[in-house]
Symmetry: C2
Subunit: 362 residues, 2 copies
């Protein structure tokens, strides 16, 4: 499919919302499909919290298929025979773009010296990449979950850079409950003595704490119905309860597996920084307190998709964005899809989502 | 109010659902109000996961008022001028009843040598207490959350021991999501190196892990609406975000406070054992798979109360119990109360609950 892995060094320091700038910024990205001559067929895909640029290529650490293989490829809803798809690892992450594990100017990892960044800072780095690639206007920016926040931020802050904006299972701000779950995860990481104030590179990483954080997050990604349908009270490889503390129930085994698998591929400090960026996200606040003002004068077409079983970013959050877009006079379509998987529906087999995405991208 | 603190040593070893028995069982309990001559005015109150017997007396460690002061006392809905109220610390806990911190026969704390117990085991110890007190039939057994599980277990397994059964914000079985949150908490405790396979008595306790577990639980006790109403995205004692990892948001500060406050008064191993007992709870399974069979031939009157904002044990769980009671031909009333606080509503100021309780107790 003509997949390429690249890393760009931004030509100038990146100004940050928190003040100051990040001196030398690398942006690691994948592309799929060919860029056309007038550079008008590019789609920027934005990944979620623990996602990465390996949308439709095997993950270099786990060897697993890309996270959106089902959506991106020749003849697929995001058709790489027609579109040039770009996905960049967000800054703050750990798959090649500059983050807390990267070397600072003194040659040692930033660790907690890395600045606290925002969703807009991540998007600012993406825009730097588009500039370097000579792409003035995207055919579309597309993202689910934190990817949707990036898509909204691009639309609000660089409105001329995308003609279509597709936001799936996302929100314009983190709620108190969203913040609470992230804080829980951060405290789990920081409670691990191996975290050592973030200075663990070259030694043992705080895998136990990070695994607990991942378990907490996973519970929020699935609906109660999905957990019941998938696991119920079924026992794991045994006929009776053990009257001990092993993983008697399948759901326990599943969570332990999700927790421990995650630590192989993700940096704990990145988890702290990216969750912080999401918690700080409040698009209305960035634009004087009124969300409609974030989209004033936009000429992009928007599409918002939510899932009825998503309790992390429920439909009301998408509807809130749609109302603001309506107030701003933007062209917007909105659909709530029915799927049992909860927030994770955007990554799973939901044929209606394929049709919405294919149709919206035109 | 005539409050008394007592500890009873059960006269015989306690048989356990997991096999074997617990040799020397102490049951610490409080009583309020006088027992009448024919011993017919006793109400057994069953406490929740991290609750204790200090219903309407100051907590001996924290000095805080009892957890149900608003409900229990002279002239209150559970009127100690009329009823003799008994509340016993569950076995497995840490406020005086035998649990993992208690001395085993070798003079050292049980720690993880304590047997895994069930809700029915806790109730078996309560029944031992009632036997010792010469109380053949309770006027009522009352409990919220895990207390409601105990009330249901008493009604199902010792049907002659209570003439009224009041179950608030509870369930007849733990769902996959309930188990998932508890497993998350247990993993947080066990990830703390100070847990040391449970052998931490006399040294430093795994407070960091236990605090994370408590934070996770607290999120489930409050509704999304309650968190938004109480905290929203409000900042804590500051005008702007710090661009750091302090508790910028009020909800973060609240969770940290809840987590650290809890570790003063609760034993981490008790947390493991009691959550395990709750996860194992499945009243239908105990009675051949059909919940109605658990209540066959009961002559007690039941009252089930749920809260519309409770997502831990939602109304559907209470309704499920009510249907089973209907199928068993039991006398049952059921009310879903509207309250914004989520699961914690049963502990908070919900005047409608006072009326339901007062009315049902007669």
């Amino acid at each position: 499919m003509n997949a390429r892995s690249e890393t760009l060094v931004l030509p100038a320091p990146l100004p940050l919302d928190g003040g100051g700038e990040l001196a030398r910024v690398e942006v690691a990205y994948e592309t799929y499909g060919a860029l056309n001559e007038d550079r008008s067929n590019a789609i920027l895909l934005c990944h979620a919290l623990t996602g990465d640029q390996y949308v439709a290529s095997p993950h270099p650490i786990t060897g697993k298929p890309g996270w959106w293989e089902r959506m991106v490829g020749p003849g697929k809803p995001i058709d790489t025979d027609r579109f040039h798809v770009i996905c960049a690892n967000v800054i703050g992450s750990c798959m090649g773009s500059t983050g807390p594990a990267s070397e600072a100017s003194d040659g040692r990892p930033y660790a907690m010296r890395f600045p606290v960044i925002t969703i807009r800072d991540m998007v600012r780095a993406h825009v730097g990449l588009l500039d370097a690639l000579g792409i003035e206007q995207l055919h579309a920016v597309v993202g689910g979950s934190m990817g949707g926040m990036q898509a909204l931020s691009l639309a609000a802050n660089w409105p001329e850079r995308a003609s279509r904006v597709l936001v799936i299972a996302s929100t314009s701000r983190h709620s108190a409950q969203n913040i609470a779950f992230h804080e829980l995860g951060r405290q789990a990481v920081m409670a691990d003595p191996r975290w050592n104030q973030g200075d663990y590179y070259g030694g043992e990483a705080p895998d136990s704490g990070l695994a607990v954080a991942r378990m907490a997050a996973h519970i929020t990604y699935l609906s109660e119905e999905a957990l019941t349908g998938k696991f119920g009270r079924n026992l794991q490889d045994r006929d009776a309860k053990s009257f001990g503390f092993d993983a008697d129930f399948q759901v326990e085994s599943y969570l332990r597996y999700q927790g421990s698998g995650f630590t192989q591929r993700f940096d704990a400090n990145s988890y702290l920084y990216i969750t912080r960026a999401m918690d700080y996200f409040d698009l209305a606040e960035e634009h004087g307190g009124k969300l409609a003002d974030a989209f004033a004068g936009t000429s992009a077409r928007f599409c918002l998709v939510s899932f009825d079983s998503d309790w992390l970013y429920p439909t009301a959050e998408s509807r809130h964005v749609v109302h603001a877009l309506n107030a701003a006079g933007a062209a917007v379509s909105f659909v709530e899809l029915s799927a049992p998987h909860g927030h994770d529906s955007f990554l799973l087999d939901v044929p209606a989502l394929d049709r919405v995405i294919g149709g919206f991208l035109g």
